[in-house]
Symmetry: C2
Subunit: 376 residues, 2 copies
C-alpha cells in the first residue's frame, strides 16, 4: 500500500475534522444550488473547490465557498450567467463569461478549447467578464484527460508590487500547464507568479509567525516581516524572484504582466488594479486565457507517453541535495495528497466547519457531512 502523504499537514490536528470528500462535494453543490446556481453548474464549482482541498491547496478550497456565495448575494456574480462566444473560428474563441462563477466559465471555455484542438491540433480561448476561478490546474487537467496539453492562465485582483514599484498593482496571475502521462500522476505545473500565494501569508498570520524577508514589501517599499500588514492591505506580495532585479524579480513581474496582457488586454477583461474581488459590487471582469494542444497531431500519443515516463524517471533519479531531500515532479505532491485524502478524508478546520454549518443553516440546508475522523 502506498504511504500516506500530505503536502500540507493540518496543525494542530485536534483543530481539524476529517471529512469524506464526496459528502463535502455534495454539500458544497447543495449550498450553491440554494443560491440559484443550476445543479450542473453547482457540481462544477463543488468539484473545483473540493479538488483543491484534496490536492492540499486549502487556500483555494471550500474555505472560499462564502466568497462565491457572497458574490452572488451582492450581485457581482450572476448565478445564471449567459456565457457566450463573442468571436469564434475553427481554432479560436473569445468568450464573455457574463459575470458568472469563474469555475463554470473556465470549465466551459476549456471544453470549447478541447473540442477545437481535437479537430485542429491546437486552440486558443480567451475569456472576459469572469470571476475568480479557483485553482488554474483544474482546467489544465481537463485537457490532460483528453490526452492534450492544457495551458491555463488567469489574472486576479492586484496583490503584487511590480518590480521597482510599490503598492498592489498586479495580480498573483497564475500559470498552469498540464501534460498527460501513461501512469499517474500527470505532470501539472500550477503556480502563482508571485513568490508565495496570499494563502501562505494567511497561514503565517494565523499561526502568529513572522514571514521570511523577501516575500512581501510594505507600502513604503521595505521588506515586511509581519504578515498582518499584508492582510491589512498595507503591504504587497513580491513577484517570483523577489525585490528588484538581482535575483530575477523582474522575471516574475514580467510573467505576471504577460498573463495580464493575455487574460486582460487581449480578451477585453480588466487588468492590474482594475480587476475586482468577487465580493465587491462592481463586476470583477476577471480574464482567463487557455491553450489546448492535441499531442497526437504533432507526434503519436503513444510515443509521447513513452517519452514522458522516461522523463519522469530522469527527474526522480537526480542526485538529491541531502539524504532526507526528495526531488518532486510538478503536480506529484498534489496528486499524492489527493490519493491520501480520498482515503482518510479532507481536513477541515473546525472554525471553517462552523462557518459552513452556519451558511447551511441560513439557507435551511441539510448538513450531512460524513466525518471520517474527529481529528486530523
Amino acid at each position: 500500500m502506498a504511504k500516506l502523504y500530505e503536502k500540507t499537514v493540518p496543525t494542530p490536528p485536534h483543530e481539524y475534522v476529517r471529512v469524506d470528500h464526496k459528502s463535502l462535494k455534495n454539500f458544497v453543490a447543495a449550498v450553491l444550488t440554494s443560491c440559484n446556481v443550476s445543479e450542473e453548474d453547482s457540481k462544477i464549482v463543488a468539484d473545483v473547490l473540493v479538488t483543491a482541498d484534496l490536492m492540499g491547496i486549502e487556500s483555494h478550497g471550500v474555505q472560499r465557498l462564502t466568497r462565491y456565495t457572497t458574490g452572488i448575494k451582492v450581485g457581482s456574480v450572476n448565478p445564471k450567467a449567459n456565457i457566450k462566444a463573442l468571436s469564434e473560428s475553427a481554432s479560436t474563441a473569445l468568450i464573455d463569461g457574463g459575470s458568472g462563477l469563474g469555475q463554470v466559465v473556465a470549465y466551459k471555455a476549456m471544453e470549447i478549447a478541447i473540442e477545437k484542438a481535437r479537430e485542429m491540433g491546437v486552440s486558443v480561448v480567451g475569456v472576459r467578464n469572469s470571476h475568480h476561478f479557483g485553482i488554474a490546474g483544474y482546467y489544465a487537467l481537463q485537457a490532460v484527460e483528453h490526452s492534450m496539453i492544457g495551458m491555463v492562465m488567469t489574472n486576479s485582483e492586484a496583490l503584487v508590487a511590480y518590480t521597482h514599484s510599490i503598492g498592489r498593482n498586479v495580480g498573483t496571475n497564475p500559470i498552469a500547464v498540464g501534460f498527460p502521462t501513461r501512469k499517474p500522476p500527470p505532470v501539472l505545473f500550477d503556480a502563482a507568479t508571485s513568490v508565495v500565494p496570499v494563502g501562505k501569508i494567511e497561514v503565517y498570520a494565523k499561526e502568529g509567525k513572522k514571514i521570511p524577508l523577501g516575500w512581501a514589501i510594505s507600502s513604503e517599499g521595505k521588506l515586511l516581516e509581519d504578515p498582518r500588514e499584508i492582510l491589512a492591505k498595507k503591504g504587497a506580495l513580491l513577484p517570483l524572484g523577489g525585490l528588484g532585479e538581482d535575483f530575477g524579480g523582474h522575471k516574475g513581474a514580467g510573467l505576471a504582466l504577460v498573463v495580464d496582457l493575455l487574460c486582460g488586454v487581449l480578451t477585453g477583461a480588466s487588468y492590474g488594479k482594475n480587476v475586482r474581488h468577487t465580493t465587491e459590487k462592481e463586476r470583477a471582469n476577471v480574464g482567463h486565457f487557455m491553450i489546448a494542444i492535441n499531442i497526437d497531431k504533432l507526434t503519436p500519443i503513444g510515443v509521447f507517453l513513452e517519452r514522458i515516463e522516461e522523463y519522469k524517471v530522469y527527474v526522480k533519479s537526480l542526485t538529491k541535495i541531502s539524504e532526507d531531500a526528495e526531488v518532486w515532479i510538478p503536480g506529484e505532491k498534489a496528486w499524492l495528497t489527493m490519493e491520501t485524502r480520498k482515503k482518510i478524508g479532507i481536513p477541515i478546520h473546525k472554525s471553517i466547519f462552523k462557518e459552513i454549518r452556519e451558511e447551511a443553516a441560513k439557507v435551511s440546508l441539510k448538513f450531512d457531512f460524513k466525518i471520517l475522523k474527529e481529528t486530523a
Copy 2:
C-alpha cells in the same frame, strides 16, 4: 532627441571599440558564408547575433560566433541542413532541423507558425534536432511584426540544478513572449528560467567579483560565491526563485521542466543532461517550441493595440519604489539600448575584436568594420 540609454554599459570604456552594426552584420554573415552556410542563412544568423548585441545581450551576440563556426568545423552543425516537416496540419507542424544552425531552423519554424496562424488564428510548431538558437526573443518578434503574439521556448545544455537536487541537470530553458504595440517598443518578455543566465556569471568572473549568494550552488549543494567554480563546471545555476522552495525555487525549476517537456519530450529532441553543446561532436539535438496567435481572429487588432498602449501607460505610471528608480516594461530596456547602439555603435571588447579578426584571417576574409569610436 531621445536620451542615449544602454542596458549594459561597457566597463571600462577604453577596453571597447564602437562598431557600426550594419558593417558588423555584414562581416558576421561573410564569416558564416565562408563556412559553407548559404548567403540567405548567413544573413539570418548574423541578424540574430547582432540584434542581441544591439539589445545589450552581449552574452548572446557576436562573441558567440566562434561557437557556431566551431560547431560547423567539428561536424556537429550542418551548414547545409535539410530542414523538413515530420508531421503537419493546418495549425501544427513538427520540424526536423537536420542539425542545422539553430537560428536558421528557428527562423524558418516561426515563418511556418506565422503562415499557419494567419489562416487558422493560432498555430503550434515543435522542433527537434536543432542547435542553440541565440536569443529566444528574436523569433517572438518575428510574429510581432505580423501583428501576432509570439511565444518561443528552447531547451539548452544542462546548467541548472533542479530543486532539491545537485549537479547540472536541466537547461536555462528560456521563455520569450512578444506582443505588438501601436507605438514602439513592442512588449517583449525574454528570460531564462534560472535566476541569472550563465553570461552574467562570466561577467563576474571576468571582473574578478564574487557573485551574490543565491545564484548558484556547488557540486555539494552549498551556495557559491566564486563564479569560476561554475565556469569550471563544478557548480550549477539555481532556478528562478533560488534554492529550495522557500522563495519559489520549485516554480523556476517547474518552468524549466515545462519548457523541457514542450521542447524536448513533445518534439523528440534531447532533454535534461542529454542536450549537447554546439561544439561537441555528438549532435546537440536541441528542441524548440513556438506558438503564434493571430490577435485579429480573437479581437480586432485596432482594439488590442489601443488597449496595450493603455496598459503600457498604466505600468509606466506606477508609483516608483524610490526617486531614482524606473519602472520598466519587458523589452523596453533592450529596445532603448538598440536605438542607442544603432546611433553610436555596438561596443565590442577589444579581445573579442581580436578573436574575430583572427577568425577572419584564417578564412582570408576582408575585415572592414566601420569603427564609430575607438572607445565606448
